[in-house]
């Protein structure tokens, strides 16, 4: 089992004919993702890697059932594309682009809530249920099946952790990237709740960073509602206040969102925080044994 997506999940690719869209369509197909259609206005009737292309999302759903959509759309047009998928009834949308304006992101979240849909991202690497389906841009070979669930705010750092696990023959159930922006759809708690319910996930790794309060909120949830062991790694211990470290959320402002406050909250919830990424496998082995 896995959370959010599996081998049957029928995936639409919006922006499939672009450079990123076509490249990652090939990568996802290679991983085993069930991609059933793509959308690219004005390119209807073509195909990309054997996947039929439609002009609009509505045209695609006239032909196919769509469970999820992934967007490779330039940031200025992402809101329109996300609205289109939501209006057409798609219930899981993965927003890959970075630099989507904040007000647009809030508009997308408000409409998604009305449509009862789940948004992953923006500025995310997506999500992968290891060995069955990948809706995202992460490198295929590191994501092998196993008992560990991972939820992360950042991409490459998450690969780093997964790389350490894979190197120690530890696989993953589902790996979810929340995205590095200030407003994102899925949050730690949404994902932790699903991992807690998933019988195959035995333990969870939370990969967080400085800024905001989502790690602290996750800690409260873990202590009140989770029985499964959780460990964490947090980036930004050395970051000076007031400097935005690449991610829109990763900034210590007005004394909030510090590394120390997050470690304290997580420790109080029984979550051990790794000092370095390479300490994670040993911690997981200890839990699994």
């Amino acid at each position: 089992m896995s959370i959010f997506i599996n081998k049957q999940t029928r995936v639409l690719v919006q922006g499939i004919t672009g450079k990123q869209g076509s490249f990652h369509t090939a990568q996802m197909l290679e991983y085993g993702t069930n991609i059933i259609a793509g959308v690219s206005p004005g390119k209807g009737g073509q195909n990309v890697e054997g996947v039929p292309v439609y002009d609009t999302v509505f045209a695609a759903i006239e032909e196919e059932t769509v469970d999820a959509s992934i967007l490779f759309i330039p940031a200025p047009f992402a809101r329109d594309a996300a609205f289109e998928a939501l209006d057409a009834g798609v219930k899981l949308i993965v927003l890959i682009p970075e630099h989507i304006p904040l007000q647009d992101a809030m508009d997308i979240m408000a409409y998604a809530q009305k449509q009862n849909a789940v948004i992953v991202g923006p500025n995310t690497f997506g999500l992968v249920s290891s060995g069955s389906s990948k809706i995202g841009i992460m490198p295929n070979r590191y994501f092998v099946p196993g008992p560990v669930g991972i939820v992360s705010r950042s991409g490459t750092l998450c690969y780093e952790i997964v790389g350490h696990l894979t190197g120690n023959d530890i696989g993953t159930t589902t790996v979810v990237g929340l995205g590095g922006d200030r407003v994102v759809g899925l949050n730690f708690i949404d994902v932790l709740r699903r991992f807690e319910e998933d019988p195959e996930t035995k333990t969870v790794i939370l990969v967080g960073e400085i800024g905001g309060s989502s790690e602290e909120e996750a800690a409260t949830f873990i202590s009140s509602s989770m029985k499964k062991p959780v460990i964490a790694y947090l980036a930004g211990r050395s970051a000076p206040p007031g400097k935005r470290m690449g991610h829109a959320g990763a900034i210590i402002e007005r004394g909030r969102g510090t590394f120390e406050s997050k470690v304290k909250a997580l420790n109080a919830a029984g979550v051990e925080v790794a000092g370095l990424p390479n300490e994670v496998p040993a911690m997981i082995k200890k839990i699994l044994s």
């Binding site: 950042s154 490459t156 407003v183 960073e209 211990r237 400097k243 390479n278």
Partner: protein, 369 residues
Amino acid sequence: MKLYEYLGKKLFHRYDIPVPHSKIVESPEEAAEAAAELGDVVIKSQVLSGKRGKAGGIAFASNPGEARKEAERILNMRLNDLTVEKLLVEEKLQIEQELYLALTVDGALRCPVVLASLDGGMDVEEVAEGRMIKWPIDVSIGLQDYMTREICRRMGVSGALQKEFIKLLPKLYKMFRELDAELAEINPLALTPDGLVAADAKVTIDDDALYRHPQLPRVKEKTDLELKAEELDIAYVELDGNIAVMANGAGITMATLDMVQHYGGAAANFLDFGGGASVERTAQALELLLGTNPKVLLINIFGGITRCDIVAEGFVKVRESKGIDLPVSFRLVGTKEAEGRAILEKVGIKTFNSMDEAVRHAVDLTEAS
């Protein structure tokens, strides 16, 4: 992009939010002229830093002579390590009460939130929890008058002042949405005999949305190198150490800096050149770093979309054209790893498998040199 107070107030004025009469000046003489016109004035340094008052960057003057003297003093001071180039000379308000009002984004709730308090004029962090009213707004219906009435009820505001809020808050919300603000804060919001007036303005515009606001002024708060990086769309922040760091991805770059510190080193910068970089972009990022005269160069690449061979090519290109004569610690794994390593080996650069080894090596190199 943070805006200076006077720019924020210009935007307020454009949205019909009352602001004091004022002049923006750059010399003591101009300040004196402004005071002659405005009467009792307050002279405010225009810098992108809070706590200007405590640092001596705000002064009152009741005649042109005083205004000249205070303006000269402030223009010559370093304010929280910033130079003061402009002063806002403003009519002194008759303030009956100082309130607080802001619109910002609540990341956890994924929507705008109104923050309102009767306790204005102080640092927002110092306002007691129960005295700060928070009201999230569903952007699909926007700010409605009932919300303002409810916010007022919770603040204990009624009558004429409530009417003032019902006039003011929708204007602030409209500006916040239309101008893609991340923050629009009025602190203090002054209650005067003429009604509510924005005595200060703290407005931050979303960098990602600047492309659709060509009419807004561009405020620079960055160093030259940071600006250069911005042009190249590279996330770059200057730090105090001597190990120049380059990595792909914000999270892993931060983790690299943490590890440098863990092993006793000090990073010179944060540089995330993103995913899927080309040879050209890799070279640009490297050149940027070399411009900072670091002692050691630490490169940490975990290739997903980023291809190791391309990064290696970019490195060799810069090495050949500009010469890289400082010690380098290079970690290279992921997509096209073997190809990338081969390229580097040809020029005698050894690579590491793990981030840990590469960081330790970089720290050792600084100690050796």
